[in-house]
Symmetry: C2
Subunit: 95 residues, 2 copies
Amino acid sequence: MPKDEIIYDLAEFFKVFADSTRMKIIYALMEKELCVCDIAKIVGTTQSAISHQLRLLKQSKLVKFRKEGKEVFYSLDDDHIEEIVKKGREHIEEL
Amino acid sequence: MPKDEIIYDLAEFFKVFADSTRMKIIYALMEKELCVCDIAKIVGTTQSAISHQLRLLKQSKLVKFRKEGKEVFYSLDDDHIEEIVKKGREHIEEL
DNA sequence: TGAATATATGATTATATGTTCATATATTCA
DNA sequence: TGAATATATGAACATATAATCATATATTCA
């Protein structure tokens, strides 16, 4: 059994995947780098909701971003992310 | 972008990993099959809390169980689980 | 500079979630 | 059968979380 801190951090990490809005953001970013308003259009919700969720994704180091003029472009920042989502999908599609 | 139903199911699936009590249960079961009261001892919480959480793990098909007399023995029911936890741990340990 | 656009953020609210407590169910064994 | 043990479950409560709304903070460009 890992230390409590590891357990806690792991649970926090997986919380990121545990929401459908964030999962949609992740899928959108798997395609390509996107600015906030494009993510909002793709996901189908408000800019504010996306911005709040992107903050969580940033805090968990799942996305990185670069500013270009008025826009902020986000992209996935870890190879594990796609692998983890893929494994999850294998699981749910086997049921 | 997958269908909404897939997105929703994926988020639900990852919710299972998004709690430290459940993460401890998963780690305990990685070692070996265990009965409820042993899980409670290892995790360090009440039988009731464990039982509630095991119900979620059952619903998500992450654990299977067999009854033996008064006891119910639980074990992990999917090879993806260990892989997913391992990937998550790689992520948090790289930060 | 001022309007327009893109993004971030704080407060609020509604909902979801985890634990606790009490109790029900099931099994064993004297 | 009745006591003891293991597990499951419903209700209640406290906390966490996500969306919304209003607004703040850039940045561009006329």
